[in-house]
Symmetry: C2
Subunit: 466 residues, 2 copies
């Protein structure tokens, strides 16, 4: 393998140190953080530093008929970054330049390997704000965020990644370099190719540069908590908050399973007797206290047992930290639930219209009972976007099967309620069947036609999405 | 012609009254409001009432090999809605149902023929806000707005049409009905087909239903005016406002030519001795007065001769009204400029990064002198989006030629400054060459590939965009 003509081509173009064939490294690059997904072992992992090197890689792979799988930080949750056997994995981790931050145009231009938090902090130093804040923001890359159209906690007020992508540079399957979009606030020159690549999960090209829109830094936010005796009550409150015309800058839900898991993971004095907790914030400056008071009123009317505001920024940060710990805490909880360290999570991700949130929450509880698996629910309640975390014993096929059934039942319910099979995690390998169900045969044909138009040989990320 | 098999098919599907062949009506439907664009005479204009009828029309046209040109209210400014000879024009004016307004999900579902203002008012009655407000909002349709990705005065704070399109129903060239997108706040299921159709100017399908996102109604805004002795000063102020992290809800520019034209059209006491006027508004509630004061400060620092706030809502509305009169006033001005009523406007539309606005404004003045044509500039300054209005004598080929040259020079300058050849009016017939220059050969090939994938026979709106 060390002497394969493809590897020779790659080494000639990128230099030996950027062409990795060490078996341990190949193993490391097999998969992202999604469960239930197949993964292959790549032939090679390359770490190009610039667009020209990506072009060389894509051309070489195309010439040798070897598929290309783009990878960022592999924090995805749908298997979109999983390798396929014998592929060239294009890792963008060495493409970390922030080329430009322009406070007047309110844009930044970055290479795809820049970590979300790195960009967020760099623009914050100039009084600007890059809102998209996926849970993985400390490690995930802008390229990965763009490819998956990542969400986060800010979305309820500030929208998802695609709202912030103005333009892209993409290496196509032909090896040509496409520039899409613009640096201007507005522009309607031609088809919106930018947003075609956003969320395409690496199936249409390799993103080599991203121009993002920025906002002025928001004001300090105030934070509050509402404690509910039922998850349905929390869902009702979310609908009421929207009906009142309120737009919190954050509106997150943690159910009892998560509260218990977080307290076990890192005791913070959370109300573990609650069935659900809503965490809300407002960054509306002089109006924030009023807005929170109105949110509190809606929560009380929806049956909240207790409502309290964070007394200071330290307490507010602790509450946010609790929310951010939900994922690792639940992983720990899953490990502890089953003997032998084989407990794990199947992470679901559905979004429904806000008015259907209470019904979805009740439905998830019913599905947990029916399928006989513990399910904890956490999520971006303000967007109607929930992550039911299904706790399974990986060593027990029956448990996995029950978990898989619950996973499917939750999505089925989400679709019945007018929702989508994925609010922010994407399709990848995990939800290809559900995507097909959601968009129907015409939608699938249009997807296939576009894929074939841009990547006729199926070079990029084969088997993903479609 | 009355007995053509295609017309028989159309009448059978839609009924006689929805199949128009009256020559006067055909003439009326030849073109939108763009100048300098070719237009053909359609074979027939059809007015379907529902999706099934659109399907029947598209299938019939495809069967007979006759092109289909979708039309809304024909208020477009790039010729995208212009008929081609012998085409079936599909007018959406009879598809005017507002199917649903949901204040909790914050969405509305409408047929494409709903007029922008009708939707805006209907949602406002429920405390909601549909921001996109193109100049034509009292007459243009949501379908047309979506097809052209229409902008307006709100965009500086609230973004353009595409930010508000969650999902579409589209009749494809195959006659199949595609549903894209979702009703949820978030969703990443598959490629973003919704935004591929937004701004595609009717070249990829006929939009038959639109699901739009709504916002809570904004607060009353406060309005101010800054009077400048140079257009460049106004441009500098716009950059300064952005650099200060301010986001006005409106930031419009009127140059002296427009001020004179508006005063002549409807005397309002505008400062016609000014070289430029910036109109700004803030809808930030308790903070609005402060925000305007900061904007005023920036304007003064950039050389404003006078800055004054509207004392009440009546005065604010009058200022806005002056801005809204810019287009008809300039048309009148053009007519009056040349003998015989042959004066007219070539309306340009470029957007540049905000920091380049002052340079663009100075450049337009230079181009006016060099080309020997009067050019008035109005526009959405806060977005870096200007409409240089070139005053020509339609009866004088030399004047038209000078106007056309100025039009091109302005776009060339816009592109040199890192801008786009169209900020909001679109490509249509008017800017196909400039689009090709802006996006380059790779961009053109990708456009063609997508067009071919979705509409292999070239049924929809031939000759537009590409």
């Amino acid at each position: 393998m060390a002497g394969s003509p493809l590897l020779d081509d790659l080494r000639a173009a990128l230099g030996d140190e950027a062409v990795l064939t060490d078996p341990d490294l190949l193993r490391l690059h097999r998969r992202d953080e999604a469960d239930l997904c197949a993964a292959g072992t790549p032939l090679v992992v390359v770490r190009p530093r610039d667009t020209a090197q990506v072009v060389a890689v894509v051309r070489a792979a195309a010439r040798h008929g070897v598929p290309v799988v783009p990878q960022g930080a592999r924090t995805g949750l749908a298997g979109a970054a999983n390798a396929v056997d014998g592929a060239v994995v294009v890792s963008t981790v060495a493409m970390t330049a922030i080329r430009e931050i322009d406070p007047v145009a309110r844009i930044a231009v970055v290479q795809p390997g820049v970590v979300n938090a790195t960009l967020a902090r760099a623009v914050r130093e100039q009084g600007l704000y890059y809102p998209p804040d996926p849970g993985s923001w400390e490690s995930s890359t802008i390229g990965g965020n763009v490819s998956t159209n990542a969400g986060g906690m800010c979305c309820v007020k500030y929208g998802v990644t695609t709202e912030y992508v103005l333009g892209l540079e993409v290496v196509l399957a032909s090896g040509e370099v496409l520039r899409t979009g613009r640096r201007t606030a507005k522009g309607v020159a031609g088809y919106d190719l930018t947003r075609l690549f956003v969320g395409a999960e690496g199936t249409l090209g390799v993103i080599t540069e991203v121009t993002v829109a920025l906002r002025p830094a928001p004001e300090e936010s105030l934070t509050m908590v509402a404690v509910f005796g039922s998850t349905g009550g929390a869902g009702t409150a979310v609908a009421g908050i929207a009906a009142q015309g309120l737009t919190p800058s954050l509106l997150e839900l943690l159910d009892r399973t998560h509260l218990l898991a977080i307290e076990a993971y890192r005791p913070m004095g959370l109300r573990t007797d609650a069935q659900a907790l809503l965490l809300a914030a407002a960054d509306t400056g002089p109006r924030a206290a009023d807005d929170l008071a109105r949110i509190a009123e809606v929560c009380t009317a929806a049956g909240a047992q207790e409502v309290y505001a964070a007394t200071d920024a330290v307490e507010a940060a602790a509450l946010l930290q609790a929310r951010r710990l939900a994922h690792p805490a639940m992983e720990k909880f899953a490990v502890d639930t089953y003997p032998g360290g084989n407990g794990g999570l199947i992470i679901d991700d559905v979004a429904v219209p806000r008015g259907a949130l209470a019904t979805l929450l009740d439905g998830v509880a019913r599905i947990a009972t029916e399928c006989g698996v513990p399910i904890g629910v956490v999520g971006h309640a303000g967007d109607g976007n929930l992550h039911p975390n299904i706790v399974v014993d990986r060593a027990d096929p029956a448990s996995l099967e029950r978990g898989r059934r619950a996973f499917d039942e939750i999505i089925r319910l989400g679709l019945e309620l007018g929702g989508t099979c994925t609010g922010e995690h994407g399709v990848g390998l995990l939800k290809r069947d559900w995507l097909a169900r959601e968009i129907g045969p015409v939608g699938v044909r249009v997807h296939q036609a576009i894929k074939a138009a841009l990547d006729p040989a199926g070079l990029f990320n084969p088997g993903k999405v479609l």
